[in-house]
Amino acid sequence: MFVIAVGLTLIYGVMKILNVAHGSMYALGAYTASTFAGYWLAHGHAPYASYAVLVAAAVLVGLVAGPVIERGLLRFMYGRDEVVLVLITYAVFLILEDVTKLVFGVDPILVAEPYGMLGNFQIGDLVYPVYSLVLVVVAVLAGVALALALNHTRQGKILRAVIHDREMSMALGINVSRVYFVTFTIGAMLAALGGALTAPTTSVQLGIGAEVIVLAFAIVVIGGLGSLSGAALGALIVGLVRSAAVHYRPEVELFSVYMVMALVLIVRPKGLFAAAEARKI
């Protein structure tokens, strides 16, 4: 979840687009990954390499879908009102829903091997599959890597500059268009990765995109749009709240997340980690 949220918040931070199509990226990632992995295993290749296949699939989706959408559509839309941009991505989302259906069919895809292979471990009397641990690790790694990249590489600094002040960085001759391109691709890749890694733990079916995107929105908004650490915290909060709800008040689980979102916004109108921008008059 965190990986997806990060992608979303990154795109928003840089491009000021709340990207609904992010959900489709997730779905595409999941479908492609499970299809590839299924094929891979079906042909009796080394099962452990299937993890590589999953990741590869995600990267592929990111590298194909990301650029297509950004170059082919979004770049004509920059400067439009934020809400319009949301709608545009919503349209893309609708289109991709059907594309996914046409490409992968309507049957849920179930590729569980990578999930089971790693065995389980025990905490107290609760057993967890190692794979979930792997997911956590990957999420953390992704987060750390991104943070490092942003803070210590030249591109990262440029990105931060753009996040901070678009006009100024344009004035400074940063090729914002290129930055956007890269950002969106990375974002898409992250979403696809999220999907790809989740795929083995669940059965990939139509509509998972919608499921995820709303949750991701909640997370990002809770954390503060465009803030990476915010996304991390948001993901954590959402996770905890959900499981707490499940354990103690199952009947509120359905909307607990929105409760939290509402509460957070009420207390911190711009989310937990949001930079307030001053206005010169």
């Binding site: 839309m77 349209a91 989302f93 609708l94 259906k101 709303v214 929105f217 908004v221 509402a262 009420i266």
Partner: protein, 349 residues
């Protein structure tokens, strides 16, 4: 003089609708009814957009309207029960408000009884207004994406609640039927025509009312707020209270729309009312229509509904795609919505 033209257009539209009503085939009648109630909801969205706000949770009031229309007595039960629950003295004010609310509902219901078309619509509007008045206190502080998200959250909370309430049919919702109009009993067949006619009149009334409002001082102030809140404050007007007002108005319209939907369709459920996809549709229709004129929302709703129906009928496997593509085309080529076409033509002419 623009005012006159709009007025003219609307009146003639109403006349035409009422005239052709009897000769339209049933599917067309219900199609128009759908367009009308969607249009009413979108009127409210357009008002918000004029004020510079977009709600991703308008489904909230649409849903409240529909449920109030379908279950006024149950609603009164529910709220009364809740009020009784708050027995401690420090809840007294809340209880007072709730009682006042149920009182109003009962008042609305008494003249014609629960399953009367008028009752439904009034109850729907009432519930929506009350809730909006409360939430507005909070939401009026928010702008842009945060306003959108917070409204979304509220709508989804209602969705969750309804899904949990098996008394109201959970996700299956429940059916309802219009038995009378203003006390005049209606047969199933007449009910349909009555709903159609009433929708047309209501839509007309809402459109005119909003049209007047937009051309009044407050209407202008709305655009002023969208342009520059700071200056509005610096001229001595309260931005927040106007936003609150407009929010309540838009909610009322959504409530009315929802109630008419319930009457037209004869069934309400959470999925097609409170869920975020519904609110998304509203946003889409609003962008599609543009805020140029109060007639635009109905035009937009018409096109939206037409596209959806035909897509569903002729390309059942890719109707979402069709919808998405239409959306993109409109946003690309008609940034100010369909209405801009007409305006442009007028200019050139």
């Amino acid at each position: 003089m623009k005012r006159d033209r709009t007025l003219l257009v609307l009146i003639s539209a109403l006349v035409v609708l009422l005239a052709i009503g009897p000769i339209l085939p049933q599917w067309a009648v219900s199609f128009v009814s759908v367009v009308l109630y969607l249009g009413i909801v979108v009127l409210g969205m357009a008002l918000l957009m004029r004020t510079g706000l977009v709600s991703f949770g308008q489904g909230l009031y649409y849903c409240l309207g529909a449920y109030a229309a379908g279950a006024t007595p149950e609603l009164i039960e529910l709220v009364d029960g809740f009020a009784r629950g708050l027995s401690q003295p420090h809840w007294a004010p809340v209880r007072l408000v709730l009682n006042a609310f149920t009182g109003a509902l009962k008042l609305v219901q008494t003249p014609f009884g629960p399953s009367d078309l008028l009752t439904m619509v009034m109850a729907g509007a009432l519930l929506a207004v009350v809730v909006a008045a409360v939430l507005g206190l909070l939401l009026a502080r928010y702008r842009g994406i945060f306003f959108a998200m917070l409204s979304l959250a509220f709508s989804m909370i209602l969705y969750g609640l309804l899904v949990r309430t098996s008394e109201l049919g959970s996700t299956d919702g429940f059916g309802l039927s219009v038995k009378s109009f203003a006390g005049i009993a209606l047969s199933t067949h007449w009910a349909r025509d009555a709903i159609y006619a009433f929708s047309a009149v209501t839509a007309f009334a809402c459109a005119i009312a909003l049209h007047r409002y937009l051309n009044s001082y407050r209407g202008r102030l709305a655009s002023a707020i969208r342009d520059n809140e700071l200056r509005v404050e610096y001229m001595g007007a309260s931005v927040r209270s106007l936003i609150h007002l407009n929010y309540v108005i838009s909610a009322a319209l959504a409530g009315i729309g929802g109630a008419l939907m319930a009457a037209t369709i004869g069934h309400v459920d959470p999925e097609t009312t409170a869920n975020w996809t519904t609110s998304g549709d509203f946003v889409f229709i609003t962008i599609l229509s543009g805020t140029g004129n109060v007639a635009a929302p109905f035009l937009g709703a018409g096109i939206f509904e037409a596209v959806r129906t035909f897509a569903l009928e002729y390309v059942p496997n890719t109707w979402q795609m069709t919808l998405g593509i239409t959306m993109l085309l409109v946003i690309m080529f008609l940034p100010d919505g369909l209405w801009s076409m007409f305006v442009r033509r007028r200019r050139s002419a």
